[in-house]
Structures are given as C-alpha cells and as structure tokens.
C-alpha cells in the first residue's frame, strides 16, 4: 500500500464537499451553483475511491464512474436550462426564479 493514509483523502474530500455546499448555498448565479454541485460530487467521488482503495475492493470505483456519468448528464440538462433562460433574457439569479412559490 503506497501513498498517504485514507484519512488524508477523506479530509480533502470533506473540504471539497463543504466548499461545494457553501457555493450552492451562497451563490445566486445558476452557473456557479451548477459548478459548486460538481465540486460536491467530486468530493463524494474522492471519498468513494479512497474507501475503495482502503478496503481493496473495486465497487467504490465503479460507483464513482457511475456518479461521473450521472454528473455529465446533469450538467447537460442544467446547462441547457441556463442557455434557455439566457435566450429568454431572464435574470440569471436563482432567487428571482421563484414562480413555483406556493
């Protein structure tokens, strides 16, 4: 087993996840929110791979691959939405997109 201990990877993963979550919560531009979401997903991926390696089993890595695929599709949808909003000259501000208010 080479490289640092699993704890180091987990600390970085937690840091990435927290960064992303903070971005989702405080930024108002949908583009940045999407970006922060990706960072959160990557944090989770890192944790998955770290554990996979720690336990010497491959399923964590496969899971990480699946997450990447889902993330890619999600970005396609998200970016498509943002482009559509830009075309209609809507404000790119998630707080103003509150038509679904009950």
């Amino acid at each position: 087993m080479l490289g640092p201990d699993v704890a180091g990877y987990l600390i970085i993963a937690a840091f990435l996840f927290a960064t992303g979550a903070l971005g989702v919560l405080i930024r108002r531009s949908p583009l940045i929110v999407l970006l922060s979401l990706e960072i959160m997903l990557n944090g989770a991926n890192l944790a998955l791979i770290a554990f996979s390696r720690h336990f010497g089993r491959g399923d964590g890595q496969i899971f990480a691959l699946a997450v990447m695929a889902v993330a890619a599709s999600e970005v396609v949808v998200g970016l498509g939405l943002i482009v559509a909003m830009a075309r209609r000259r809507l404000d790119l501000d998630v707080d103003k997109l509150s038509t679904l208010r009950g």
Partner: protein
C-alpha cells in the same frame, strides 16, 4: 306429474327472459304472443299434472321434488323444491288458466302501447312468481314467490310510470305489502328457531310440541302476511289505489290471483292455524269486517274499476271468513269462481273503458246497453255470479262458505249475519254499477264519444274471445260442486286440508235461501234507484266517501309523525351535526393546507439549506448515538 309441474313453473319465466333478451328485435305483437303461448303452455302442463294426479291413489297424490340444496346453514337446510299436491295443482290450474286468458286479452288491451314488450315481460314474470308461490315445496320458497308477486305487482301498478298517481300507488302497494312480508318473515324465524325446519310436513309435525304463545305468534305473523297481500283490514288501503295499473293487471293480479294468495297461505298452513284457534277466529273476523266495510265503500265509488276493486276486497273477505272457520275447500272453491267472475268483470270494464277513450268515471257513462250489447251480457253474467244468483258460479261457492259459518256456534252465527249483510250489499253495489253504466239514457259524454272498437281485428278478437270464455266459466264454473250432493272440490282437497266444519243439508238450504233472497233484494233496490230511477239516490255519506278514514288515519298515525320526526332531525341533527361536522373537517383541511403552503417558497437556495441542515442533523444524531 312432477316434470309437468316443473315445466309449468318455468315456462313463464322463460318467456319473461326471452322477451327481455330479444328486446326491440321482435315486434310488440310477437312479444304478446310469446307471453300468451308461454302461459297457455304452462296451463297445459298444469292440466297434465292434474290428469296424472287424478290417476293416482288418494293418499299418494303429494309429491315433493327437489332440484338441489338451495341454502345450507348448519343443520338448517332448504332445497329448491316444488310440492305437487292437490292444493298446488288446484292453484296452478286457476293461476295458469285465468292467467293465460288474461294475457291473451292483453294482446288487444295493450295494443298500441309504447312499452308493450315490457308489459308482457312483467306479466310473464308475475305468472311465474305466482306459480312459485303456490308450488314452492317449503315455506321459504313460498316467501320467495310471495316477494316476487309483490315485486311484479309493484312493477305493473306503476307500469304507466309517467303518471305520478300510478307511481305513488305502486309505492303504496309495495310498502304495505312489505309490512306483511316482514311479519311473515318473523313468523318463519320463530318457526326455524323452534322447529329447525321450514318444510311443510316436518314443521307442521314439530309444531305440535310448541307452547301456545309461540304458536300464536307464528300464526299471527302468517296472518299479517296474508292480510297485507289480500288487502284485508287493516292493511287494505293499497288495493283501490292499485287500480292505476292497466286493467288486465287489475284483473289478473288484483282480482283473480295475487290478492287471493292470503287465502292460499291460510289453507296451506292450516295445520299451524288450527293450533292457534284464536288467530284463526281473528282471520275469520277480519274477513267478515272487510267484506262489510268494503261492500259499504263500494256503494259510493264512482270509478268503475274501484267499484270492482272494493268488491274484490269484499269477496276475499268471504274467503278469509271461510278459511278462518276451517271451511278450506269452500274458501278455495270461492277463490276459483271469484277468479272467473271477477276477471270477467274487470275485462268487461276494460272493454268499456277502451270504447270510451279511457274514461273510468261511471257518472259520465250511461245507456251503453244498446251500443255494446255483448259486453252488457258478459258483465251481467259476471254481476249475477258475483251476487250469488243461481245457477251462476257465485251461488255455489259463496253460500257454502256461509253455510259453514252456521256450523260454528255463536261466533259463526255472528259471521253468518255479517256475510248475509254482505250478500245484500254485493247485489246492491254490483247492480248500481251495471245500471249506471249500461242502463238509462245515453249520457252526454257517451253521445260525444261514441264507443269505437280498439285496435285491429286480432286485437279485438283477443278481447272478445277471452271475455267470452270467462263468461262461460263464470256461468258454469260453480257446477263443480253443489253443497253436499256433489262435492268433487272438497274431496279433491281433502288430503291436504280436511275441513273443520261441515254444514248439514238444512244449514246449506237456509244459507242459500237467505243469501239468494238478500242478493235479489240488493239487486231490486239497485234497480229501483239506479235502473228504474223511481227514487233519487241518497246522498253518499261522508264516512263512506272517505273510505272509513283509513287513509287519513294512517296518514295521521304514520305519515305525519314520520315527516315531523324527519323535519325535527333535519333541523337538530342534519344541519348542525352532520352538515356542521363536514364543514368543520373541510375548514380544518383548508387551514392546514394554507400553513403547509408557506413552506413552498420557490427559492432553490432555501431548499438546499433545508437539505443541508437535515443532513447535518442526521450526522450529528449518528455521531451522538454511537
């Protein structure tokens, strides 16, 4: 014998089903022929069973045939079975015979009605139900038939469903009959609990060991059913209203067959009634009261069909009197002759009503004798038979019932006197109707609406031929039995119902002479007032016009209290409690929804924060719990 009885039972049901299934693919006339042929076939099958039974030894004539076990609950078991014995064959002949004549008459009477097919399907259903009633091999099947005749009677009274009065009359008949059905069902429950069976033979046998209270309750329940179905006091008010139905329906259901089911019930279950002699006396008393009251009310009726309807009640009163006294064969004999002459009178009245474009008020009629001579003769025969004038059928049957009353102590003497008064009234009201309708000068209405034939030739002939056949039966039907010289009916029914009373020759002679004299006196008075118009008719008394206030009494006793209670409940319970609670529930849901709605802010970041907070809490919980 049994196979023919099954055929007899199910042919009319097949006809009803066939007409229903074929629907509009057949013409109305075809539907009429299907029903007529089915009833005629049923009658033929009844004749076959009769002949087969005739060939058997006397004690070997009852046959119980079970198709399968119909109901089973523990030890209690009821089979779908029919009983073919002298009494049921007698009734089968009357029901299917008169039934097929009346259904054939309907070909003409209902010709041109929009819903003729439905009518004939109902008529077939009725004939099936009535046969079920008389052929059922145990009390439960009798109750099934009992309910089914009530249903078909309801359907046929309300046949012209666009007339509110017909619908109301149908409901009234149904409700009053339901009362009788309920008391009968209660009697059966008691019987099941105490004897564990509803088979005729077994139940009658086991009934001997029961306490007199139980027996009285059972007999009273049965009597309640009989009284409701046969329109006797105090449940008689539905029958006159039932005249809203088509006239052949009145002839078949409300004169010849269904309303006499009560008499059949008493004779069939006479073993139970004999164990409760008080109730049997009550049956005879109710019959006597009804025959008198109905005869009085018939004097002032102005609707031709209602006159005959009250006369029917009165004649069934005679049958109840006979059955209650134990003169079973005489009651059944009167049932048969009554079926003939009363169906004849109704069908004659139907011809008159049709000829005068639907008019039923006898005050508008008059002088029809020259215009409709054949109908006049037919109805004259019916009227004379009804009044008990020899040698027509009513003479033989009614007088033997009254003679039986003389053989029963002081109670019988009272009933005899009432029956005699009834004989006078019968002559009076019957011939009042006949003289007003047929005698005298032609009324203004008749001159304005000259009688015209109804329908095509087939339709006319179907009416004339059946009325002709019934005229012959009403004239000659009584010759089947003549007091104690010649008693085939009594002998035939003896294995089923042995009479309790036996009038001597002297009593027969007294009864006949008195009854004929009073009947003739009634006719003479009617002729004096309404035929020759030597005296002005007395003003009808208010009590009679209100039919002894029975309708008013029942309205006051049951209808208005029920309405009042409903209004009170609607005011106290329905509004505040039921309505209020529903309003409160809906208000609560709206309020909750309004609060929950506020959570839905539409702000994505708020949702994300809630998610993050939730996860944080979960993580904290996990950490703390470990």
């Amino acid at each position: 014998m049994t196979a023919a009885a099954w055929v007899c039972l199910f042919l009319p049901l097949g006809s009803a089903g066939l007409i229903t299934v074929l629907g509009t693919t057949i013409t109305r006339r075809t539907a009429a022929w299907i029903a007529t042929l089915a009833c005629a076939g049923s009658f033929a099958a009844a004749v076959v069973s009769f002949v087969a039974m005739w060939g058997r030894a006397r004690e070997n004539r009852a046959d119980l045939s079970t198709a399968w076990t119909w109901l089973e609950a523990g030890n209690f078991r009821v089979g779908l079975s029919i009983l073919t014995d002298p009494l049921s064959v007698f009734m089968m002949l009357v029901v299917a015979g008169v039934g097929s004549l009346i259904v054939a008459y309907s070909i003409g009477y209902m010709d041109g009605d929009d819903e003729e097919r439905r009518y004939f399907a109902y008529m077939s259903l009725f004939v099936f139900s009535m046969l079920m009633l008389v052929q059922g091999g145990n009390l439960l099947l009798l109750l099934v038939g009992w309910g089914l005749v009530g249903l078909s009677s309801y359907l046929l009274i309300g046949f012209w469903h666009d007339r509110p009065s017909a619908v109301a009359a149908a409901k009234k008949a149904f409700v009053m009959n339901a009362f009788g059905d309920a008391t009968m069902a209660l009697a059966f429950f008691v019987l099941i609990q105490k004897t564990g069976t509803l088979d005729y033979g077994l139940a009658f046998q086991k009934a001997h060991g029961l306490s007199s209270l139980t027996l009285n309750l059972i007999a009273l329940g049965l009597l309640g059913g009989a009284v409701a179905k046969s329109a006797q006091l105090p449940l008689q008010t539905w029958l006159p209203d039932a005249m809203e139905g088509p006239t052949p329906v009145s002839a078949l259901i409300h004169a010849a067959t269904m309303v006499t089911a009560g008499v059949y019930l008493i004779v069939r279950t006479h073993a139970l009634f004999e164990l409760a002699p008080r109730i049997e006396d009550l049956a005879a008393g109710l019959g006597a009261a009804t025959l008198l009251l109905a005869g009085l009310v018939a004097l002032v009726q102005t609707d031709i069909k209602r006159v005959i309807a009250y006369s029917t009640m009165s004649q069934i009163g005679y049958m109840f009197l006979g059955a209650g006294l134990g003169a079973y064969a005489n009651a059944m004999f009167h049932l048969m002759t009554h079926a003939f002459f009363k169906a004849l009178l109704f069908m004659g009245a139907g011809i008159v009503i049709h000829a005068l474009a639907g008019e039923q008020d006898i005050r508008k009629m008059g002088g029809l004798r020259r215009l409709m001579p054949n109908t006049w003769w037919a109805m004259l025969v019916g009227g004379l038979a009804l009044s008990g004038i020899p040698p027509l059928s009513g003479f033989f049957s009614k007088d033997s019932i009254l003679a039986g009353a003389l053989d029963r102590g002081w109670y019988g003497d009272v009933l005899f006197a009432v029956g005699m008064a009834g004989a006078f009234l019968t002559g009076l009201y019957t011939f009042r109707m006949l003289f007003v309708v047929f005698g005298g000068e032609q009324s203004a209405y008749v001159q304005e609406h000259p009688p015209h034939a109804h329908g095509d030739r087939v339709a006319q002939w179907s009416m004339y031929l059946t009325v002709g056949a019934l005229t012959v039966l009403a004239a000659a039907g009584g010759w089947l039995q003549f007091a104690d010289l010649w008693t085939p009916v009594t002998d035939w029914l003896e294995p089923v119902a042995r009479p309790l009373v036996e009038a001597t020759g002297t009593q027969e002679t007294i009864a006949s002479a008195a009854a004929v004299a009073l009947g003739v006196a009634g006719i003479a008075v009617a002729w004096w007032i309404y035929g020759a118009r030597r005296a002005t008719a007395p003003r009808p008394s208010r009590v009679l016009e209100h039919k002894f206030y029975f309708d008013e009494l029942y309205n006051g006793l049951f209808y208005w209290p029920a309405v009042g209670l409903s209004r009170l409940l609607s005011w106290v319970v329905e509004g505040p409690l039921v309505g209020g609670s529903i309003a409160a529930v809906s208000e609560l849901a709206r309020w909750t929804g309004g609060r929950v709605r506020e959570l839905q802010t539409g702000l994505v970041r708020a949702y994300a924060l809630a998610l993050a907070a939730g996860v944080a809490v979960l993580v904290l919980v996990f950490v703390a719990v470990r």
